[in-house]
């Protein structure tokens, strides 16, 4: 007896797992403020004073605790952007769109988020968050739909 074709090249497999990640007080408060009040909170380091958004309960720069959560923005300045031309799985908006790093007013770090593919999104441009409608919010970073250039609010871009 001999071996028949077809040869065995690949076995298909999958790694698929559901998660329920504990957020902790700081992340949980930040997400709740997005959901309930449409506000963006930053963490203030008790030691070096860095105002970080999005906040973690520890200062990523010096390792100290976060002393308070403080509202920042909502407006901010684009510090970098990248344009995505084709739809990507797991991204909540359709292509084309942009990723942006936004330095919100009063913050020392940048929030990474989404923006429309609008040529007004350039480094140094002022942008504002466009929140989802209250009923659509789930306490997630995507409760901010994206950041839009100043003057573009309500254009439905």
């Amino acid at each position: 007896m001999t071996l028949q074709p077809p040869e065995l090249i690949y076995m298909d497999g999958e790694s698929r797992c559901d998660y329920s990640w504990t957020t902790g007080e700081v992340v949980g408060t930040f997400l709740a403020a997005l959901r309930d009040r449409g506000k963006i909170l930053a963490g203030v380091c008790e030691s070096c004073g860095q105002v970080a958004v999005p906040p973690t309960s520890y200062c990523e720069s010096c390792g100290a605790e976060i002393a308070e959560l403080r509202e920042v923005g909502p407006r901010g300045v684009v510090m970098s952007w990248a344009r995505v031309g084709a739809d990507l799985e797991g991204v909540p908006v359709a292509a084309p769109f942009r990723y942006v790093l936004v330095r919100l007013a009063g913050a020392d770090t940048e929030l990474l988020h989404l923006a429309p593919d609008d040529d007004r999104i350039t480094i140094g441009a002022t942008v504002s968050p466009e929140f989802k409608l209250q009923a659509e919010r789930g306490g997630e970073i995507t409760d901010i739909r994206w950041f839009v250039p100043d003057g573009a609010q309500g254009e439905g871009s």
Partner: protein, 378 residues
């Protein structure tokens, strides 16, 4: 510290290796590395390996690969990260005086799963994952911030790709072995702007293995060792927005530790070769600056001067770098193997005189959050 030499090394042919399993790749490369220094697996005291569970599609990937590394009934430990970190750990093991020899193994088969899914899995669950951020987009944000901050145009990165692809064309292990022109790079399809297809590393399967030995063993062999004189590794904050993303602090810190150990004070003068992990072309320019080869923002000028080209003061990526083969997990260890081959004149390619001291670099994380460096000398 005890003197430690890299005495043997090997890498596989890199590419899409659909008929190779993790085990067959590892077995092949370990045997070649042992043969390159005339040693047998029985001469090895400890095995330090690097692998990625997510890349392998299995938890605790070493469960079914320890035998392929010859680690049955041996001391063995695994680093979850680039193989260059495994090399640093192996260096520690020998430097402790408790081991005479070590085998370092790193492998990855990126072709078995979607690379984008792999990189999205590196994001945190709260802030980045819901936005679908991947490694390419993170690098694109970094490239734009870097270009803007220092007024560096897109062409500079493209010129890195041209240089490295030309070098890779001479590297028989490389995956991409064709030269590209500046026009081809600039006109290649946009991935995530400003990055273009020819500015990004390919999807690569491959493996690399190294043999290290203490001075007594190293001197007893019939081959010239590459002596390890310095190492360093470092991690930056995770949040891309909490770093100065136009700089690479992690690489600067890792290199400064390695320089201090090796007595390097003026890297441009003291180093003869750099092998760096540039998964995206612009990152090589950023690394010139982080490594102190030039001032901040001067990477473009350094490249244009030819200093980092073959024949320049400090050639960077004579192998073609990650842009010509990027076997994730093994990429940084491949840089070390390339550096060792050059400082000892034991490589296969054209001999280049005067390379006595070289540094290898590995990058990890989104937008080069982590770095590892090792300096080897003749």
């Amino acid at each position: 510290m005890i003197d430690v030499g890299v005495v043997g090394w090997a890498q596989t042919q890199h590419g899409t290796l659909e008929r190779e399993t993790h085990q067959s790749l590892i077995y092949m490369v370990v045997n070649e590395a042992l043969a390159s220094c005339g040693m047998s697996i029985h001469d090895i005291d400890v095995v330090i390996d690097a692998g990625s569970d997510f890349l392998d599609g299995r938890g605790i990937s070493t469960c079914i690969t320890v035998d392929s590394m010859g680690a049955h009934f041996k001391e063995e430990s695994k680093i979850a990260g680039d193989g260059l970190l495994a090399a640093i750990y192996a260096y520690m093991r020998i430097a402790s005086g408790l081991f005479g020899t070590a085998l370092v193994v790193a492998y990855g088969k990126s072709s078995e799963s979607p690379p984008r899914a792999q990189s999205v899995s590196m994001t945190d669950p709260f802030y980045l994952r819901p936005l679908g951020l991947d490694a390419t987009a993170a690098a694109a944000l970094q490239a734009r911030a870097y270009g803007h901050h220092y007024g560096v145009g897109n062409e500079a990165a493209a010129r890195v790709a041209v240089k490295n692809r030309a070098a890779g064309a001479l590297n028989t292990n490389a995956q991409l072995r064709t030269r590209v022109t500046l026009e081809q790079v600039m006109e290649s399809p946009e991935l995530v702007s400003p990055l273009r297809e020819l500015e990004a590393a390919p999807v690569t399967d491959g493996a690399c293995a190294l043999v290290m030995a203490d001075a007594d063993v190293a001197r007893s062999l019939k081959v010239r060792p590459a002596w390890i004189t310095g190492s360093g590794h470092a991690m930056d904050p995770f949040s891309p927005g909490a770093r100065e993303i136009h700089k690479v602090h992690s690489a600067a810190l890792a290199a400064s530790d390695a320089y201090r150990h090796a007595g390097v004070t003026d890297p441009l003068a003291d180093l003869d070769l750099l092998e760096v992990t540039e998964a995206f072309a612009h990152q090589e320019l950023m690394l010139y600056e982080a490594f102190g080869l030039c001032e901040e923002g001067e990477g473009e000028g350094l490249l244009a001067s030819g200093a980092t080209s073959p024949g320049g003061r400090v050639p960077v990526n004579l192998s073609g770098g990650a842009l010509c083969a990027n076997p994730v997990v093994a990429t940084g260890l491949v840089r070390l193997a390339e550096a060792c081959a050059r400082v000892t004149d034991r490589g296969e390619g054209d001999r280049i005189d005067g390379i006595k001291r070289a540094m290898a670099h590995a990058a990890g994380g989104l937008a080069m959050q982590t770095a590892a460096c090792m300096i080897v000398e003749r």
